[in-house]
Amino acid sequence: MSDHEHHHHEEHAKRELSPLELRVRALEALLSEKGYIDPAALDVLIDAYQTKIGPRNGAQVVARAWTNDRFREWLLKDATAAIASMGFAGRQGEHMVAVENTAHLHNMVVCTLCSCYPWSVLGLPPTWYKSAPYRAKAVKDPRGVLKEFGVDLPESTQIRIWDSTAEVRYLVIPLRPAGTENLGEKELANLVTRDSMIGTGLPKTAP
């Protein structure tokens, strides 16, 4: 038994494990014993997706697009390369497309068939993104979905929904909030929310 498993056993010794927790533990032990997984690699993976790979990556990409026209054009033309130039690449971001909101167009991303999401720039998807209500409604009633998120767009705004049905992953570049002309990239990134990069929200307003 690895140190890791010891640690877990102590952690949970105080209460009974649920049948599901027992099954998860049993499968991890089996895959490890048979030489398929290295439990220490699981710890590194969990840490990476909790502390290194998340929506702050995407926020930096958006802030750069807002402040640097050449980068913005590159991002719209070849998002995978432009994003990689900032150090964000790889798993579930191998084929990136950036789509830009304008005064007349609002983009929203969904995966109706499963949970496809641009991990390299947004990290792991929130539970609602993977759940039936969002997946069912986003393609048919986008305005209703936006209302649930507290976003009310003018009737004249066209809504564009991207259903990620293959291995292409979409990042929404939201509209830069008014009154932010004097802010730098770093301050702008703080205004960019996860939901604004999925298209279910808008960036925070100027401080």
Partner: protein
């Protein structure tokens, strides 16, 4: 039809509210994190592939009653059993992900693009109709977009074809397109969708010329 996906949810009548979640809330129990990491770590072992994973998940009979990490786990358990992992001599893993290689492996990713061996049949601006028949296996054309007319908006190159890859029939790479549909083409009762356009990413075999 013997194949049934429980995951094809686009446009279905689901009334429950969308339960919002703060940024940075990734796991709701320690076991969810272990499941995420196990699924990712099993990638390089060759036990499965992304399309087979999706196929096993979407055909779980209790799919709609499970949370997403429960779905991931149930499918992983099923694949491991099918692969004979608990037998005395399971097939050896192709590659094992070690702790020191994790970040490099994440950064390399698993590109689905493949070299083109023939020209693309469609170009940006072409009108196309999606095939109407639901095949009796894993596929990635959602039901709401079957038998519908749309326009090619982007050409993404040649990618692994999930319909064969999920069945162990090889990658048989196909041209991949973004096809955009007017909401009124998709829904007869699209009350919430005035002035909206929906696109799917569709492989060439899903499309027929409409010109």
């Amino acid at each position: 039809m013997s194949y049934h996906s429980h995951a094809d949810l686009g446009g279905q009548d689901v009334r429950e509210p969308i339960l919002q979640e703060p940024e940075g809330e990734y796991f709701h129990a320690p076991w969810e994190a272990r499941v995420m990491a196990m699924v990712v770590a099993m990638g390089p072992t060759g036990m499965s592939n992304i399309d087979l994973n999706r196929s096993v998940r979407e055909t779980l009979p209790d799919y709609r009653d499970l949370t997403y990490y429960q779905i991931w786990f149930a499918a992983l358990e099923k694949l491991a059993a099918r692969h004979g992992i608990s037998s005395d001599s399971p097939p050896p893993p192709k590659q094992v992900l070690h702790a020191g290689d994790v970040m490099a492996r994440i950064m390399r990713g698993f590109p689905a693009s493949r070299p083109a061996t023939q020209a693309a049949r469609f170009a940006v601006g072409d009108r196309v109709r999606t095939v109407a028949v639901q095949p009796d296996h894993h596929t990635r054309l959602p039901a709401y977009a079957r038998g519908k007319t749309g326009v090619i908006e982007r050409v993404h190159g040649v990618h692994v074809f999930p319909d064969t890859n999920a069945r162990g029939l090889g990658e048989s790479p196909q041209w991949l397109y973004t096809v955009a549909f007017e909401a009124k083409e998709l829904w007869s009762d699209a009350a919430g969708a005035p002035r909206s356009v929906v696109s799917v990413d569709a492989f060439e075999p899903y499309l027929e010329s409409r010109d």
